[in-house]
Subunit: 250 residues, 2 copies
DNA sequence: CGAACGTTTGACTATGATCAACCAATGTGG
DNA sequence: CCACATTGGTTGATCATAGTCAAACGTTCG
């Protein structure tokens, strides 16, 4: 029993023109510039559409688990996904939150090296790994794009190591809020108040803190008039300048 | 005044055959299978040699600093390099140690996002970023190789996040020793006793600990008969099985 | 209405940091 | 050649940040 629904977007065989009368969802894709499909022209896009399927994932449901065969890669088109690793005794490290446009599933192992789970209701494009690799042979620009994405992720990972290894709880929370705001801005979403869809536990597992410390630090920042907690998981960054300074470790 | 010496390996212009009578150092390269040059055939290798120069770097000297224009990428051929990021007040996070075969300098920014410095006497191959990019257009296998390397680094970064965010000092030190041993093994070097060329400060900055805690944890492991500290910066992993368990968080 | 869950707050604790002294090895200059 | 300084490492005493354990509160959902 699958925990998510899958729909095929294009025809399965490149020889057959795409089925139905309407255009493939890809041509209407509003976030293409953010995805791995960004460098494709119309013809190439059609070939991409032929191997892609869309996935809808309810909040809290797994996309895949660490150790599973890594048969697919994904592009988030809506919602928020978290990726994490576990220790045998249950300690968890969230290594990233993914939003619309973000790519997911890069690995050269046969199996996923981490688990992925929906934080909110999500939509994703799903590519069979093998078929995408074949396509990349023909479209080197997609491979370049992927290398570009990987480089960015690597830089983000290094920032996160600095945060985890050397920042205080206050600096971690400030950095986190600034990060969410920046990422919202990148995809053209309102960045103040910023939408914070994940739980205190998830935030703690991302920042190397406990939920209690996350909660305490939020109230502390609130009392300093640097943030305001609004309804619907929104946080107003009242003292954005100061938050940036705290986040930067000044 | 440069802190490192540079020698050109091949001719500067691809039109002119490589200078001198002897073969380029690349054809004698003992660690090619570990580097970005691995997928090159002889002809391609010659073109690569034309843009490469070699760098020797004394222990403690910088290769580049965060914020500098990222004009070159590097491949370590001998010795150990550390890469790190700093906070304004001097707090440091070492994000990685690099050994023979390791690639260095990936970034899509105009500037380096981190600093790199020699831990021991080092040799490196230096590639002008722009010229390598041009070469990659012609040799897509090098780009694939680079994507492969980036994927591996990303997986390693996620492991390190788990370590920094969720492991105890004891688990961090055990993980570190196991990591050094595994990496030594990968490049065909004796992995027990393992060579630990970096200082306690560097280890602490890599693991998110202070030098004192690193030192105390070493003595603690020593008293548990899991390791022995040998001369010449060697550490014997006496209880390797147990160390693996501790490192894994059991 | 009650159960379950996520969040907040409080009291106390523990892990690792800080501050400080000491030791061993290495290098320098008289 | 030896006194001395410097550096890296170890150990000790104390402290502070964040973790643990616990309780209460508010929301949401059967």
């Amino acid at each position: 029993m699958a925990v998510f629904d899958v729909k095929h977007v294009g025809s399965l065989s490149p020889a057959v023109p795409r089925e139905g009368a309407g255009p493939s969802p890809c041509s209407a894709c509003e976030i293409r510039s953010l995805t791995i499909c960004a460098p494709l022209n119309d013809i190439e896009q059609t070939q991409m559409a032929a191997i892609v399927s869309t996935v809808e994932l309810q909040s809290g449901n797994p996309l895949f688990d660490e150790g599973e065969p890594a048969d697919h890669v994904f592009n988030v088109t809506a919602g928020t996904v978290k990726v994490y690793k576990l220790l045998p005794d249950g300690r968890r490290q969230v290594t990233g939150f993914l939003f619309a446009g973000d790519f997911l599933g890069l690995a050269n192992q046969e199996t996923y090296a981490y688990s992925a789970e929906a934080v909110t209701l999500c939509n994703l494009c799903r590519f069979p790994r093998r078929k995408l690799e074949n396509l990349m042979e023909r479209f080197p620009r997609v491979e370049q794009r992927l290398l570009n994405i990987a480089s960015n992720e690597l830089a983000a990972a290094q920032d996160q190591m600095l945060l985890l290894g050397r920042k205080t709880a206050r600096e971690k929370i400030a950095s986190f809020l600034i990060l969410l705001a920046r990422r919202a801005r990148q995809r053209g979403v309102n960045d103040n108040p910023v939408f914070v869809p994940m739980s205190r536990t998830d935030i703690g597992d991302f920042l190397g803190l406990t939920t209690e410390t996350v909660s305490r630090t939020f109230t502390q920042l609130k009392k300093s008039n640097l943030i305001r907690l609004l309804p619907d998981s929104k946080v107003e960054l009242s003292g954005r300048e100061d938050l940036e300074e705290i986040a930067g470790g000044f």
